[in-house]
Amino acid sequence: MGSALSIREVTKVFPTPEGGEVKALDRVSLEVEDGTFMVLLGPSGCGKTTLLRCIAGLEAHDSGEIDLHGSRIDDVPVWKRRVNTVFQSYALFPHMTVAKNIAFGLEMDGMAKADIDSRVESTLELVRLAGLGARRPSQLSGGQQQRVALARALAKEPEVLLLDEPLSALDLKLRRGMQLELKRLQRQTNITFILVTHDQEEAMAMGDQVAVFDSGQIVQTGPPREVYLSPRTRFVADFIGEANVLSAQAGATGLEIEGFGVLPADCLADAAADSGPGGTIYLAVRPENVTVEADEVGNGTIVDVTFVGGDVHLTVQLGAIRITARRPSTGTANDERTIAEGDRVRVGFRPQSVRIVEE
């Protein structure tokens, strides 16, 4: 499989109202394989939507190169790019019926009337809206409007489909359903999807690949599992799922971890030593990998217990720092015992579950 989209060193600077500048994209490079579902993930204002708009041609980047299936599209105007967008606001034309909305893009391609009609029909079926072609967008529910927006972009059979936070306006249940639906559509059409979201669960659920953005840069790209299990930086560890990030220093006797004390020399200590004498490294520990045992002479005190359904979240004061732990709310006998605020506990973690991350 070749590369559907190749982005090299793309930079985009916006002026701020105060007269300054903000780098929305800072030398961003990204390869998107043909037929994959790529998710651009990051907090709001990190530049992910700007990148999407640069790919669509709605925004002109200042420098860098964007290739679509090997040919450069930087200077191709938006209306000539074989790329289509599903907008966050859907942007359905209110004065046209659903069918006319979908037909609009096909008319622009100069497709014959009969072909347009059959394509509109088949696309409506694809997004499971058959029979609603004569409605107006205002007569549809939010979820249905979302499907029309999808159909309108998919009908053009773009080389790459861009989706800008398409599910953010839907309620949680509908959103879950649409996540699966989008994945099915992507598999069925085999069109390359690039979806922007700030919701890490959504990214995990849908993406074949996830690119994590942090202030205008892509900090890590990979399959969701890999990004979750081996976050490269502190930001990624924190943004994808939850993580306790502990600073640690290599001392004479071993690795001294903030809040936990000295750990005997092992591979972690070696890594710390590599970063120079007295060098600080950062360790990320997922809450599910933190163990909490009731212990009268333990190292920590429970400061908060939150029941969230399947899990119980525990916040433990450990010297000067706080650690978050998570464990199933039911199951083992140990969990029958109610853990309450103020209890003394022993906090630990399995060394193999720890990842060293960059600051």
């Binding site: 669509a56 041609g57 907008f87 942007a91």
Partner: protein, 312 residues
Amino acid sequence: MAGGRTARRRGAAGQGSWWAGSPGLLYLIGLVLAPLVIVLVYSFLSRAKLGVGVKWVFSLQSYVDLFYFESLAGGRTFDPTYLQIFWTSFVYALITALVCLLLSIPIATWIATRPAHVRMALIFLVTIPFWTSLLIRTYAFVIILNDNGPINGALTGTGLLAEPIPMLYTPFATVVGLVYAFLPFMILPIYASAERFDFRLAEAAYDLGAARWTVLRRIVLPAVRPGIIAGMVLVFIPALGSYLAPELLGGGKTSMIANVIAAQFGASRNWPFGAALSVMVLVITLLVLVVFAALARRVSRTNGRSSWEALL
């Protein structure tokens, strides 16, 4: 059943006591209906001896005079003079509305795309002319357009022209005055439509392969069409009956119907005839409104949103 009682007392929206609407009703009867009835009745009466007031004798003479010339010998010949004036007024009003439209679309959309605080300032500027009487502003154009005015002064002064172009007291001056007077009435409704336009729709159209002109024609224009129809009504109808611009700038040479009507109540001293002319203007205005209402109904049907019919 306290809830039921309050519900009954308040009633449904728009179902207040009948007398709550009486100020409006009095206004309509006293200031709209009564003058109309007076004009209508006068148009069917006879000319008074000295021309001031009317003689209470039923007569269709005024309506005959609209179309025929009666010689002293009693012979009747078809006389298109007044039809001609109606036609001229209609054309002037239409030209005024179209010129206003052509100017307003770019102006209104430009204003609508500015940042919020700039937008407010620009709309404020559009409304500033209303602070001064139209009479004074129309006189200002006498100064601007005359042979020694700033335009001709600049053209001859720089040597571009040897002789000043006569602009004042021409049809051109009348149209300039009309366009100037009514431009805000076109800008404001179009701005109101354009301001609500979601520019993401234009982006979506670009994204789907539409080039600029197509986006303007198929996405932007349908969205501002209600504003255009409202603007056309607000400009065309008062322009049809305008008096000042043809009087002061047209120099009486390019009479519009309002000037002729004014003359009947003044110099010509024929009140019934003036009333008949007024009735004709009313009929034409109503016909035009019906056409616009039909247009608006079609737009609101195709747009599936708030209609402008209420305004008409």
